[in-house]
Amino acid sequence: MPGRTRTVVTACPRNCYSTCGLLVTVEDGRIRRIEPVPDNRATATGACLKGLSYIERVYARDRLLHPVRRTAAGGFARVSWDEALDEIAGRLAAIRGAHGPQAVLFYAASGTKGLMNRVATDFWRLYGGCTTTYGDLCWPAGLEATRLTLGANEHNAPWDLANARLVVFWGKNAAETNIHQMTYVNQALDGGATLVVIDPRRTETAERASLLLQPRPGTDAAIALAVANVLVARGWIDEAFVAAHVHGFEAYRERVQGCTPEWAEAVAGVPIASIHRLAELIGTTRPATICAGFGMQRYTNSGQTMRAMIALLALTGNIGAPGAGWIFANLRTQVFGEKDPLAFYPPERPGGPFRVSISTALLGPQMLATTDPPLKMAWVERGNPIPQNPETPAVLKAFRALDFRVVVDEVLTDTAREADLVLPAKSLFEQTDVIGAYWHDYLQLKPRVIDPPGEVRPESEIYRALALRLGVDPAAVTDTFPDGSDESVERYLERRLAALPGVTLAMLREGPVRVPDRAEVAFADRRFATRSGKIELLSTEAASRWGLDPVPGYTEPVETVSALRRDSARFPLVLLTPNTKNRIHSQFGHLPSMRAIDPAPRLLIHPEDALERDIADGTRVRVFNDRGSLTLAARLDCGLRPGCVAVHNGWWITDGGAVNLLSMARETDMGHGAAFHENVVDVRVAR
């Protein structure tokens, strides 16, 4: 019936480069179509399979539509909101009385972006505080390396990549994780550009490359240093640029002197000819862009690795020009301090209501070690930390050691299955919010498109109800939390948006808005917010803040299989845990159509390693180390570097594919990131 069909422009709030605009068609109150939003130029061709699968996800049969409580038998039974909230409020009050508010851990991950997430912090402040985490699983080493070197995490507009003559994808598989970037790669290739991929796997992105380097995982710095060595030796240095804009060139030149391609070949295990070829391409092609991925900076040496990679662009003057630069993260839209006070780094002076004492990378061990007061309860939202944080067995143990656990989620994840109470979470279509991004610089309105189904309530209303039950002054509650109406939520958002002059909710209602201080080319003015005001190849802050060598170099990863020790190593294979196009971390995998596309976790293994172990395609194998094991089917992959095996990240424990059963809680060398990609294993036929 005409009039009952409407379209709404919204945006995807997942932790993903693309952060697509979505044009949603609603017919008779039900979402029928998801189509492109051309006004978001970066994602103008529309969402990936995950964005399109929201139609299935929102109406999924296994979605939680009401609170559930763990039963004595281990299952879950429906409870009313009143029962659930009364119990939580009772527990919160009791724990605060007996141990203080900091006996409660509030843990939120990156499951849903948006300004509304701030209501959580608002609530815990009213409660009197809590214990929270610092650091991040995703990207801190790279962010910090970029900040130390370039002064800010900014990069050229996404479409500018089409101007590059050389594109280096270093540890990034855009074809699966940032598919819209491939549009610009294709445009660059059409214009005659060269594509280089550096990745232990022959990825879908590598399929388009004319040079693929497959290093031993964690040794990328050796390649970067050796390339710099060749650049210096061959005189492929932009002398004028270096003189004007680079701090520490002499020290860096000294550092790379001994880092010959021969040395890098031995360390990284890539052919010397490939290193020379890469150096020649970087040394002689203008403009050049390096797109660095996130996976590669989840090693114990990765901050320094990223600095060595940026140095290649600095040496060749590939910063601040069209088609040139360093594409890691663009934080121009992250201007609201959404994580405040959950800053990336622990506060310099501890104290206040929030005890920011647990490193996200070390969640399990540090939860268990927390005292004075010890943790009694956890509240988890926007995350699935048990399979997704390093060292799953320790995280599981830490959660089981608590007296009470509340999880807010759309489905019964591995973490939710460990909870005492699971509260149903809103989907992206069920409350208005404003979404930033980290690849393009659009702010996007994510309006409420449909009413929450069943008894689903947005977190703002959950917290509001809890605050009232805890006896918080109703005036303060009204002041802090929006009520259920769209107008109230919009007023809340407008207050938050006030921090960004030049952008209003009214503007966002018209479509995606690029932030006012956007630039097509980052650092075009050659101003760098570092201590020296230049690109710093020598960073005193790297030394003072992180205790690292001010000049980036190569250190062997803590957990690795070196070329020499391979035959004698107890765990001779390096486990890679890359992301797949089919999930955002542990989300989307439960949907029937995703299951049809990707039914079960697999161990990817090179035929050479498989043959040594009597493994054929389809053989059930056990992947194990001292920390745990997984049993799954093997799939032979000739494109893997021999000596590496891979299981895609994001499978649940209940799927039999939770890769962090094998990982270890460790921090990166800078930024309090998680170095959980550094794992050695062995593989045997399962008995």
Binding site: R32, R33, I34, E35, P36, T45, G46, A47, C48, L52, I55, E56, Y59, A175, E176, I179, H180, M182, T183, N186, R202, E204, A206, E207, R208, A209, S210, L211, L212, Q214, R216, E265, A266, V267, G269, V270, P271, S274, S562, A563, R566, V574, S593, R595, A596, I597, H606, P607, E608, A616, D617, G618, R635, L636, D637, C638, G639, R641, P642, G643
Partner: protein, 470 residues
């Protein structure tokens, strides 16, 4: 005028698939599922990867495949119920829900594996080219939602002359054109190993078959019943004693019931006879009914030799149709001697039942040759899984012939063994039916490419190509 020829009046627009820009992202698959409300894991569009194990000597690329609305669509031609027709507005090949009997035959004859059974409604379903959207001037969901612009629809590109080894070869004239892969400087592909010689057979998973005994046992039973009945009547014509009327009628009706039970919509079973002009399946149904009627009448009448031969001939007419049902499909196990398996089976069994060595010895030999040809045409590892069935089938067949030769009319065990052998043969036939699917075609194309390149078959890595592995 046949249905097929009247339907070519409107030429549908062709898919244009750019293999270079396609990254196999599956957005088209989900877009299709959304548009058509497929939320039960049933998908109309699929991604088939060429070289999924990334053999170093070949590029990897992906084919996005659904119905290609072929100009000579096998589904349309062979649908027994006349349920498939071309949409005069858009040229799309469409299945009519109200006419489909759910026999799944369109899925068998389609080399692109496009028609999919909807168990909840008991009918076949497939890509409609988003006819409603097309008619409203919009693009189909799959092409309009491709994030890399790799899949599009272009009314001007002819579909003829598709020359892509990884794509099923067919004379159906599918409306799809491919733009080739542009970049792959694989010489530079590092220690993954240009020196590595792995056959695709070692790295490819065993692909599912469209038709197996497990899913189609009812058809195996039906065709076996048809063969046995025809053999029985043939034996009578050859001079054996008269079959019992009730047994023939009862068995015949039971066979019909079993085959009808396999339909998604059994109440529409009568529609299976409608496409007698074009569909061997319709002809099979009609000739089976005709044979049964003639045989029962002849038995009731206890007719003379000419009538018995007439009944037998009607039966063999049916068996010819049975064989043709399987022959018209695009099959990779193409072994001509095996293409008349039901007919020869009927002759052999008839000979055994009638104790006529002049009939069963040559027919038995033909059976053996057909069986061996079928076995040889099977290159896959699955053949090995079936070795016991093959041994049992040959042993039972040979034993029945020897017993019949040695003991003549007294050898009832020969009959039992011959029936067993033919039943095993029927099972084996279904288990080996190697119908072309896009995934199997892509796998075979990779095999062929690697064979042409002459890659070594042993696993050896040149150490100099992968220094410091680890």
């Amino acid at each position: 005028m046949t249905a097929a020829s009247t339907a070519t009046t409107t030429r549908p627009p062709a898919f244009v698939h750019d293999l270079e820009t396609c990254v196999g992202c599956h957005a088209c698959v989900i877009a299709c599922a959304n548009e058509n409300a497929l939320h039960d894991g049933r998908l109309w569009r699929q991604i088939v990867s060429y070289n999924p194990a990334r053999h170093p000597a070949q590029p990897t690329f992906h084919l996005s495949i659904a119905c290609n609305h072929c100009l000579d669509a096998p589904c349309l031609r062979h649908c027994p119920a006349l349920a498939i027709a071309r949409d005069p507005r858009t040229g799309a090949v469409l299945i009519d829900d109200a006419r489909c009997i759910g026999c799944r035959y369109c899925g068998w004859v389609c080399p692109f594996d496009a028609p999919r059974f909807d168990p909840s409604r008991g009918v076949m379903t497939k890509c409609t080219l988003c006819s409603g959207r097309l008619a409203a001037g919009r693009q189909p969901a799959c092409t309009s939602l491709c994030p890399t612009g790799a899949l599009s629809l272009d009314g001007h590109v002819p579909s003829d002359g598709v020359a892509l080894a990884a794509f099923p070869r067919t004379d159906a004239r599918p409306m799809i054109t491919f733009l080739p892969v542009r970049h792959h400087a694989l010489a530079d592909h590092g220690p993954g190993g240009a020196a590595l010689g792995v056959t695709s057979g070692e790295t490819s998973p065993a692909l599912p078959r469209k038709v197996t005994l497990r899913t189609e046992w009812s058809l195996a039973v039906f065709t076996f019943v048809a063969i046995v009945l025809v053999a029985w009547v043939l034996a009578w014509a050859l001079g054996a004693s008269r079959p019992r009327l009730l047994a023939v009628a009862g068995l015949g009706m039971a066979g019909m019931a079993v085959s009808a039970a396999h339909l998604g919509r059994p109440t529409r079973a009568w529609r299976a006879m409608l496409n007698w002009r074009d569909s061997w399946l319709s002809r099979e149904v009609i000739t089976y009914g005709g044979f049964l009627a003639v045989a029962v009448a002849t038995l009731a009448w206890d007719g003379p030799a000419w009538a018995r031969w007439l009944a037998a001939a009607a039966g063999f007419g049916c068996l010819v149709c049975v064989d043709q049902v399987y022959a018209v499909m695009a099959r990779d196990d193409a072994a001509p001697p095996d293409r008349a398996t039901a007919v020869v089976s009927g002759i052999f069994l008839g000979g055994i039942l009638a104790h006529a060595p002049a009939v069963f010895v040559p027919a038995g030999l033909a059976r053996l040759i057909g069986f061996l040809a079928r076995t040889r045409a099977q290159p896959s590892r699955r053949t090995r899984d079936l070795w016991w069935l093959a041994v049992a089938r040959v042993a039972a067949g040979a034993a029945s012939v020897l017993l019949a030769l040695a003991f003549g009319a007294a050898a009832w065990p020969a009959t039992v063994l011959a029936l067993l052998a033919e039943w095993l043969d029927r099972c084996d036939f279904y288990n080996r039916l190697d119908i072309v699917t896009p995934a199997r075609t892509a796998q075979r194309a990779l095999d062929d490419a690697l064979r042409r390149l002459g890659t070594p078959r042993t696993l050896e890595t040149d150490p100099s190509a992968a220094p410091g592995r680890g």
